[in-house]
Symmetry: C2
Subunit: 200 residues, 2 copies
């Protein structure tokens, strides 16, 4: 049965939201079209009307949405901190390396959750992922101390690698060796620029 255009848009958004969460939780191969649409309160039949590009198109849009949400979350964290004080960066790092982020990949950064999948899938998914990483590094660079744009971007890139790597490893070992997971996250925290000065 037909629904209003407003309701149709809401339904599409619900599918996208469910996809962005489920893909981060279970991987691009671990969540199917049927489950995603069911989670959005719909059946799978209408899906190809919403996303003519099929699952790949959904995955690409979900990746973009997940990056946008992460970026928005970071900007929200930055509000209320003194500009130039490094407080925004500290807040982002603290949230990124929190237990909450480690244990809730569905609402977290797409990099540790989906980077390997994006690398393998290629096409529109990898393109969306690349754009997301670039925007995320730019956002991080805006809150990173440094003299030049290139320097801030490089530092932000290094930071994201360490943050994503630490959460990636922590998630992988938290079930089999919780102490090791904490070691990795704590080591990453200790190596963050705000805890001292790095002189390359």
């Amino acid at each position: 049965m037909r629904v209003s255009r407003q309701k149709a848009q809401k339904n599409r958004d619900a599918v996208l939201d469910a996809a962005a969460r489920l893909f981060r939780e279970r991987g691009l191969d671990g969540a199917g079209v049927a489950e995603v649409t069911r989670e959005a309160g719909l059946t799978h039949g209408g899906f190809y009307g919403q996303f003519p590009g099929g699952k790949d198109a959904l995955a690409a849009e979900a990746v973009t949405a997940a990056f946008a949400a992460t970026q928005a979350f970071w900007e929200e964290l930055a509000i209320g901190t003194k500009p130039g004080s490094g407080g925004a960066l500290a807040a982002i790092i603290s949230a990124y390396l929190s237990d909450g982020h480690r244990d809730d990949p569905g609402r977290g950064c797409p990099v540790p959750a989906l980077a390997a999948d994006a690398a393998r899938r290629g096409g529109v998914v990898q393109a969306a992922f690349s754009g997301g990483v670039r925007d995320l590094i730019d956002t991080l660079a805006r809150h990173t101390p440094g003299n030049t744009d290139a320097g801030r971007r490089a530092e932000a890139a290094r930071l994201l690698a360490t943050l994503a790597g630490a959460v990636l490893i922590a998630r992988a070992v938290s079930g089999g060796d919780p102490a090791l997971a904490n070691t990795v996250v704590d080591a990453a925290k200790a190596g963050m620029p705000l805890n001292g000065i790095c002189v390359p």
Copy 2:
């Protein structure tokens, strides 16, 4: 047809080798039992005689084998460098952040290739992964400067997070934004302890 016990062992090893490579290349969901055994020159029927635990058992053993190979490769790199000079660590870092490693996940470190899969799969796979990460960090710590064991281990953990994160991101964006991939890897290189002094 029955084969000799020696040949049977060789066949099992061939399946394990193929699995260790294919799983790293395509992910645990991206390579099937049929393809792995075919790559080893066998049919899939005999597989459950070799691995009664099924695909999960194969994945767990493949993860362990991949970590062991990475560790052996690092130890090989360390041979011929002056002990305590940091030369071994420099060689490991250089190899890890090379284009060759980025573009050949099948023979590379299991962390960027399989950590997300291991986190989701749980069970014996996650247990094998946890053990592999611990051993890898211990190996890295043996070549890391520092005053205490705990300090070396923490530094090694932080190092592995940065290395794995950088390669993970580089692989994900190399198709869509090659310049960004180089930015991330170069930034990780520049942030390595051997290029300067980190004062936490």
